[in-house]
Point group: C2
Chain length 230, copies 2
Amino acid sequence: MASLKVYADRRSQPSRAVILFCKINGIEFEEVETSLFTNDLQTPEYQAINPMKKVPAIAHGDFTLFESHAILMYLACSYHVPDHWYPTDLCKRAKLHSVLDWHHANLRYGAMGYLVNTILAPFFGKSPNPEGKADCEHKLVESFSTIEKVWLEGDSKFLLGNDQPSIADISFVSEIMQLHMLPDEERNRLIGPYKKVERWIENVKEATNPHFDQVHKYLFHVISSFKQTT
Amino acid sequence: MASLKVYADRRSQPSRAVILFCKINGIEFEEVETSLFTNDLQTPEYQAINPMKKVPAIAHGDFTLFESHAILMYLACSYHVPDHWYPTDLCKRAKLHSVLDWHHANLRYGAMGYLVNTILAPFFGKSPNPEGKADCEHKLVESFSTIEKVWLEGDSKFLLGNDQPSIADISFVSEIMQLHMLPDEERNRLIGPYKKVERWIENVKEATNPHFDQVHKYLFHVISSFKQTT
């Protein structure tokens, strides 16, 4: 098997999703720290791997790939992980593609956009933007409501009525964990009303620990420093 | 084979992509007109098919699905269409997933957002928003640049260096055709600098006609009426 390199910054939600997936499944890889907001993303060497200048990306032997969902699907197939992560059944896989596609313009847009328009604005060379915040808050809360009512319909432990997690569970919860950057009260205002969502997050943690906590440790260290200086 | 229903409004970019894909590949289906901005999307019957109240969606026998990329992938597998649409090779398929994932927060965000913040604002109960327009214009032009430099790298006729179209080509060009709603001068200002993009659009039309023009006929009829009244 060719060697696997994962180019990642653990402060990035999709980077954590890919690292977590590898660790849970015992996939051997070299983590290449590729730091956001530095020259790491700007070098010609990195842009040959990911011309979008983002993380994560992988190099598996000579094969390179970016976009975290595409990476997770590729790794699931390439390493023959247990079927529940990315089912081979055509209909189950199609439903998983549907929820993964939904993510981009909904949960990702709302959660990342909310942070970029508020506390992370300075890191993106912007000023906090109340109109952008309101737009993203609407999308974020709507996304929690959709997860609660649609994707967690019934009493299933995981998305799509599953009793075991899929790559979507890992992707979505890695995204949501970023909201711990917000003051607790603000975060609770946004997610608190969605009790099934909160239980599901705990289910994903439980199913993926100790890896989940290990992979998120650096994020919480960054958050702790961030909260002390702001 | 179970019967296939496609719930669509041909004014919707992803609806057209799904209809076009079916027609090119001789997939028999019933087109269920599901009109944007009407009660069609609000009925309990439709929400049982697509709780997001959007188009397109499909019902294939008892199996229902929404999100156009998920639908295109499902149909490609279910109907065993020629391999170039959605390659079975793991690496080729992964690259296609990557470009499809990229679409959501880039070309889709930019092109649809530009229209919603300008001429289509009233249809979404909004006022034209200069800040939103500027944000989406930036993303749209950046997306054209990325298509030109990354996805059409080299002299390939189609995305990802391919000499035959994939589902991404259909998805993206269906999206871009919506920009014909803009005055010609405005549209040319946005896309005109990207000559490879313009050639690629012609390649996709040529490879998929007469179906491409047939599927887009209603859009151009709507555009013609729209331009006469504004």
